[in-house]
C-alpha cells in the first residue's frame, strides 16, 4: 500500500494544486491521498469523480493531524523535499522495502513544512535540488520507484478509457 500525504492545504490558494497531487498519485500508482491543513470538499470531489469515471478506488481523505498519521504509520516514510538527499542515492533501497511488502507513506509539502517532518521521515528525498512542483516531484518519484511500469497500468471498472492514437482523441465508454 502506498499512501501520499499532502501537508498544509489552503482552500483558496491550493485547490487545483492539491487536486493535481491527488490525480498524479492515482495515475502513477498510489492507493490513497491524505491531506492536512484546510478541509476542502472540492479536492475530495474532484479526485472521487476522476476515480468514478476513469476507474480504480483511489480517493482523497482529510486528516486533522498530519503528526498523528505520520507517527502511527506502519511502514516507510519518505518526505519529498528539495533539501533532501538525491533520489538516485536512495531509490533502490526504497524499492527493496516496497518489494518486501512494506507500506510507503510519501509526504509532500505545502508552502512551509514543519521541521518535525524532516525528523520523522525515514528518507528526506530530493527530486532535483531546485524549486519546482509537488505534483512533478511525486510523479517522478513514483515513476522511478516503479521503474516506468506504472505507465502501462490499467484501472479496474473504468467507465472511460483512452484509446491512444497518433493524432486526435479517442475515448471508449464502458
Amino acid at each position: 500500500m502506498i499512501a501520499v500525504l499532502r501537508l498544509g492545504h489552503r482552500v483558496e490558494r491550493d485547490k487545483r494544486l492539491t487536486s493535481h497531487v491527488g490525480l498524479v498519485a492515482r495515475a502513477f500508482g498510489a492507493d490513497i491521498m491524505y491531506y492536512s491543513g484546510d478541509r476542502d470538499a472540492t479536492v475530495e470531489q474532484t479526485v472521487l469523480e476522476v476515480s468514478r469515471s476513469w476507474g480504480g478506488s483511489f480517493k482523497a481523505e482529510y486528516v486533522g493531524s498530519w503528526r498523528t498519521i505520520v507517527k502511527r504509520w506502519e511502514g516507510l516514510k519518505i518526505h519529498l523535499t528539495m533539501y533532501g538527499i538525491p533520489l538516485k542515492q536512495a531509490v533502490e533501497e526504497i524499492r527493496a522495502h516496497h518489494k518486501k511488502g512494506e507500506n510507503l507513506l510519501v509526504i509532500v509539502g505545502g508552502e512551509k513544512v514543519d521541521a518535525e517532518v524532516f525528523r520523522l521521515a525515514d528518507y528526506n528525498l530530493s527530486i532535483t535540488s531546485q524549486p519546482h512542483s509537488e505534483a512533478a516531484a511525486l510523479a517522478v518519484f513514483l515513476d522511478w520507484l516503479f521503474e516506468g511500469e506504472e505507465l502501462d497500468r490499467a484501472f479496474s471498472d473504468a467507465r472511460l478509457q483512452v484509446e491512444p492514437m497518433a493524432r486526435g482523441k479517442k475515448l471508449v465508454r464502458h
Copy 2:
C-alpha cells in the same frame, strides 16, 4: 534547445499551475517557456526570480499566438496529451532527434486544446492515459528524454544552492 509552450493560460485560474510548469521546465533542463492565453506578469516574475536566485537563464515569455510559434518552429514538436501514443513507444526516437541537435518544442495544454495542435504536432505523446497534471507530465517526459541525467544538473551563477542532507535544510549562498 528545448522550449516548452504552455497553451491557454488564464490569469485567475492558472497562475500557480503555469508557474509550476515553468519551474519544472527549468529544473528538468528546458531552456525557455513560452505561454499563450492571458499575459500574466506574476508568472514571468516568479520564474525570473527563481532563475536569479537559483541560477541559469531560464525565463517565461508571453506569445500572442501559439499558432505562429508552432508553425514557425524549426525542429520537432511534441504535444503532451493523455490521448496520445504512450511515452515508451516514442521516447527513443525523440531522444535520437534531440541528440542530433534538433530543437524540441514541448507543448502542454490548458483546459481545452485546439484540435489543430494535434495536427501540427509531430508527436502526440501520453504520460499515462489518465487525467493528472501538466507539470507532472512535463517532468516525467524530460526525465525520460534525459534518462535521469537532468537530476544531477548544476545551474550557472546560482546565488542559492542546496547542500543535500539526510535531515534538515542547508542552503549555501554565493
